[in-house]
């Protein structure tokens, strides 16, 4: 197997290219707009959850930061986008969404310094604490936020002045899908870039990363900020598509359920959040029809079982299913985790 600079370049380039399976995936996703016309609302919620999970995967799966309070970004941007719509500060939803994302990213930047210090426990503390503090603030200033009743009177103007948010959620769903896709493309670029590779090295061995010249903290601050921003965009989407925002955007349940979504779907390979979101929503729908009130019990049960069985084993099953699908046609986003015959420049 002759190794030359060109074949290495070719290998790396091919690895980063969109595989046929990925393309098929996204074609199918967009086709759902026409395939399931009665299900826009739940599909839209799934898309938002997928984006939210993708943002957490960036820090959890790629940088190894455990966050128990990702809802902080979701909620902050959610309220922000609601308020600027309500008071007519920014009327164009797309611009409002970007601004909300930036606000959440700013929160990420500010709090990243706290999150980087100390152990896993302090990280859990800090992230949890921040989401609780924000929730408390939203509760306290109910004259602005509407408190427990939620933010009322949010009026979202049509996108580009043309596409109105209708009751069936048709435009809302397309809007959410497009936003999800754009964010996904950006995250995908990050993951395959030198920056993304350095993140994976940070997660595996921060000592060595520092010893080869990587400014560890700077990278972590950067990715935490981006992650916060994306989570914020998800939160803004929710407010814009429902014209409503309430205190539960900050709830611990939201952060905990997000972790579950990622665990179900698998971390560190981009599609985990998306697949996890679909499975989670499906489960929620199914269990809600069986035992409406005790969804929380079953979530807890699933979490306990997954941990006891072993996440690696669950991930192994997911990986086996993926391998199977991969062999059926094309390549999914590749992880160099294949034992023995790792993919070489001349083929799989």
């Amino acid at each position: 197997m002759p190794s030359s600079a060109d074949s290495v370049s070719a290998y790396l380039a091919r690895r980063a290219r969109w595989s046929p399976l990925e393309i098929a995936f996204w074609i199918f996703v967009f086709a759902t707009i026409w395939l399931f016309p009665g299900k826009y609302l739940i599909m839209k919620d799934t898309a938002i959850l997928a984006l939210f999970a993708l943002s957490l995967d960036l820090i959890l799966g790629y940088a190894g930061i455990i966050s128990l309070g990702h809802a902080a970004f979701f909620g902050l941007a959610g309220y922000f986008s609601g308020l600027i719509a309500k008071y007519g500060i920014i009327n164009e939803p797309v611009i409002a969404l970007i601004c909300s994302g930036l606000v959440a990213a700013a929160l990420g930047f500010i709090t990243s310094f706290l999150v980087l210090r100390g152990s896993d426990l302090t990280r859990i503390m800090v992230t949890l604490g921040i989401s609780l503090i924000l929730g408390e603030i939203a509760n306290r200033y109910s004259n602005i936020t509407g408190g427990a009743d939620g933010l009322q009177g949010v009026d979202i103007k049509p996108i580009f002045g043309l596409f109105r948010f209708d009751l069936y959620g048709h435009n809302g769903y397309i809007y959410s899908l497009i936003v999800l896709f754009i964010c996904f493309v950006i995250v995908r670029r990050i993951v395959y870039s030198p920056f993304g590779l350095s993140l994976r090295s940070l997660k595996g061995n921060p000592l060595r990363a520092s010893a080869i010249g990587i400014p560890v903290n700077r990278r972590l601050v950067a990715i935490y900020t981006v992650s916060g921003g994306l989570a914020g965009i998800a939160g803004g989407l929710l407010t814009q598509t429902t014209a409503f925002c309430s205190l539960d955007v900050f709830s611990f349940d939201r952060s905990a359920d997000l972790l579950l979504v990622l665990i179900i779907g698998g971390t560190g390979y981009l599609y985990g959040g998306l697949i996890g979101a679909v499975i989670y929503k499906f489960l929620q729908d199914w269990i809600a029809t069986l035992t409406p009130q005790y969804w929380q019990f079953w979530i807890g049960f699933v979490l306990v079982v997954i941990v006891l069985v072993g996440r690696e084993r669950v991930e192994g099953w997911i990986a086996a299913v993926r391998e199977f699908i991969v062999r059926l046609g094309g390549r999914l986003v590749e992880r160099p985790a294949t034992v023995g015959g790792g993919a070489g420049p001349d083929g799989h």
Partner: protein, 286 residues
């Protein structure tokens, strides 16, 4: 003002009894048990059933809450927790969150979602006026009971053989095993004891903190703050941290009502910035 101090001390000592089990578990087994609050809730509901429904005297309800919760703790430790000790922190977090969700939903299902009140005996209602300070009798009881427990804990850890085994196991698990200390048994006993204390705290605290199925989630952050600020390498650390937080919270809510809840959060953040390993921890932090 001294009443505020008194109330704050009572609240703080209650927090300590509730949280010290968590601190020991974390320091001993490097295990993040977010379900700790569930044991407190169990103790509270246990007392509610025993005292309110079965008519047992309050004085009996408290120790029974301790025993029942300790038993549950020992059972769960042997059957479930011990499988998760060696796992990553993320796994521990997920596991214990799962347990919290299950326990919250289970209690909601069996006992309903409304707040429960323990029937407090007549003798404990009302307050003493001592030197112009209003001391609620119930809070006085809390201070007494928790104070005795704290002293007892210090004695057990410092003066008994079990205590030295525990300290050895905390310091270095492998070496302790090599010395013939049955580390597994130490873990189980300690976990059971810590859970029992949480249960007792939950029973005592039902009157002050409010008891409903969301208790573990509501108070999770408080226990975590106590452990973070106080560190996990001693008993005195969390004790002082609890008192500090108790007084700060009560005083904050009284003097600055609009921002009262933020006092605790602010302290937490300040401490985390200044001393990430805790205010009172040994410098050799894990």
């Amino acid at each position: 003002m001294l009443t505020i101090l008194f109330d704050g001390v009572a609240y703080g000592m209650l927090l300590f009894v509730l949280a010290c089990g968590l601190s020991v578990t974390l320091g001993l087994m490097n295990f993040i048990n977010l379900a700790h609050g569930a044991f407190a809730m169990a103790g509270g509901y246990c007392t509610v059933i025993l005292v309110n429904r079965l008519g047992l005297p309050f004085a009996l309800g408290l120790p029974l809450a301790f025993l029942v919760t300790a038993a549950i703790g020992a059972l769960l430790e042997r059957t479930l927790y011990s499988h998760v000790y060696a796992r990553s922190h993320l796994d521990q977090v997920l596991f214990t969150i799962g347990l919290v969700f299950m326990s919250v939903a289970a209690v909601d299902y069996t006992m309903g979602s409304s707040q429960q009140f323990v029937l407090i005996p007549q003798a404990l209602q009302g307050q003493f006026i001592v030197f112009g300070i209003g001391m609620s009798k119930y809070r006085l009881l809390i201070i007494l009971v928790c104070g005795l427990l704290t002293i007892g804990l210090q004695l057990i850890i410092g003066k008994t053989r079990f205590g030295s085994r525990l300290r050895a196991a905390v310091d270095d698990r492998r070496v302790a095993r090599g010395l013939g200390i049955n580390v597994g048994a130490v873990f189980t006993l300690t976990f059971a004891f810590g859970s029992g204390l949480a249960g007792l705290g939950g029973a005592l605290g039902a009157e002050i903190l409010g008891l409903d199925p969301t208790f573990p989630l509501k108070y999770m952050i408080y226990f975590l703050i106590v452990v973070t600020v106080g560190g996990t390498s001693s008993i005195t650390g969390p004790f002082l941290a609890s008192i500090l937080l108790g007084i700060a919270d009560v005083a904050g809510k009284y003097y600055v009502p609009t921002l009262g809840a933020f006092v605790i959060y602010t302290i937490m953040i300040v401490v985390l910035i200044w001393r990430p390993q805790g205010l009172f921890a040994r410098s050799a932090a894990r």
